[in-house]
Structures are given as C-alpha cells and as structure tokens.
Subunit: 149 residues, 2 copies
C-alpha cells in the first residue's frame, strides 16, 4: 500500500501521515526501492487508532501515550482511564467556556432589533467601561487543538 491508499484507508491526509512519522508519533514506514512509503495492514490499524483518538480531541502527545498503552499488553486499565478522564475534564472546561460565550452572545443578539437603526446592545456591551480586568495571562489548560475543537 502506498501513502495515498493509506490515506484513504485511515482518513488521515497524506500530509499528516508524513507529519506523524516525522514527529515520531508512528514509526517510519518501510520504503520501496523507489523511496515510496509502504504500509502494512498493521500500520493501517495503528493509524486508524490514531485517527480515532484525534477525533476524540486528544492531542498528539496524548495519542502517543495512548498508543504506548495500546501496544503494551501489561498496561493497567487505570492508566488509560485516568488519561481519558483528564481529557474529558479538559473538554468539559472548553465546553463551559463555549457555553458562556454562546449564552452571552445569544442574550445580546436577542435584544438587538437587527434593522437599519444603529443602536445595538451588542456593541454597547462590548464598549462598556466596567471590564473585569482579568490578568493578561493564559497559560494553563485550554490550549488550542486541531480543527475540531
């Protein structure tokens, strides 16, 4: 199987297949004499695992850990579970943030008549003076992930 077939089989773009290899998430594929990457069924199922984890919003580093656990027969399920629940908590945190934004915006939009007149509670709210000064710090948790989030 060449990389294009592997892409179709896994749902991971060709670019990403090469990238995952480059960053060491998966072991380098074997090469044909031509230099083309060659994928085995085992490679494919590993990659499929990766895609699924990615679909669940795991970051590449976490996927690496999951892969380790997956391939290590003597793992403890507790390790997997804690990884998963930690991730769930992060997702929930992001969801809370989204909820807040959505609620605020829907509230404001609901009170905006949305016609030719200029007055609009959305802009009024954004322009108010009482801004909660919130530190210019944004280091923990909630980092951007790939597209899906």
């Amino acid at each position: 199987m060449n990389i294009g077939d592997a892409s179709k089989a896994t749902g991971i773009s060709v670019k990403m297949l090469r990238y995952y290899e480059e960053i060491g998430l998966v072991r380098p594929a074997l090469r044909a004499n031509s230099g083309y990457r060659v994928y085995s069924d085992k490679n494919i199922s590993t990659l499929r695992f990766v895609r699924r984890a990615r679909d669940l919003g795991f970051q590449v580093k976490q996927i690496a850990s999951l892969l380790d656990l997956w391939q290590n027969g003597s793992r403890a399920s507790a390790d997997v579970k804690s990884l998963a629940t930690a991730h769930v908590q992060e997702l929930e945190q992001r969801r809370r943030e989204l909820d807040e934004m959505i609620a605020t915006l829907e509230h404001l939009a609901h009170h905006c008549h949305g016609d030719h007149r200029p007055d609009c509670p959305i802009l009024q709210n954004l322009g108010e003076e009482d801004a909660p000064p919130r530190k210019p710090v944004r280091k923990s948790g909630a980092r951007p992930t790939f597209a899906v989030v």
Copy 2:
C-alpha cells in the same frame, strides 16, 4: 500611559498590544520622545472592546469588523446582529463536536474498570476495525481559535 499600564488596564498582554498594532487591528499608538508607546483613555477603551470581543471567541478579523461597526455611527444594527449570530452558530458547531467527544469518552471511561488489569474498552474501541472512513478533508468551519475555544 505606557504599554505596561495599558496591559493592566485592558487585560491584554504587552505582547498582544504590540501585535494588534502590528497587524493593523488597532491604530498605532502615539510615541513619546523615548520611543515608548503612549496610550490615551480612548485607546484604552478601544482595547477593552477588543478584549471583550476576544473573550467572546471572535477572531481577530471579526473583531476588526466589529470595531468598524462600533466606530461607525451610521451602522445598521442588522449588520452587527448577523455577524454575531453567524459567530454563535460556529460556536454551537464546536460545542456539538465537543459534546460528541465527551459523550463517547464518558461512555467508554464508565465501562473501564480502571484497575491493574490491562483490558480496557477505551483502547478496544480506539483499536476497532470498522472505522468510518471519513474523508481526509477539514477545510470548512471549525478552525482553531485562541486558547478559549
């Protein structure tokens, strides 16, 4: 007001204040003889507007549009509203995706006993063979934003 004070007053980091200026989101601040940026109260309130919009998950380009509308007395509230509701829909899309991930993971984690034994439905699920082949395409909607997403 120097940039550090502006940062404290707005909750935007010094780095970001310079960045917003650089990309043209806000007009360049005046400079003192020393070369230091000097911020007026008006500058501060504009920046506060920016931070609020950012807190609501708007991207920089959208914030630029909002700023235009804000500063343009002859705007139509309909324009603001449509911008806002489009954004809400995007946030809702992301929330749906999060919901799906969370539901799946919680379900799996719930059935994982999480002890010393290796068997674990989470890994089993990720490793299953029936992966929905989903195209390796991810171009529309759902792009990563800053931290909060």
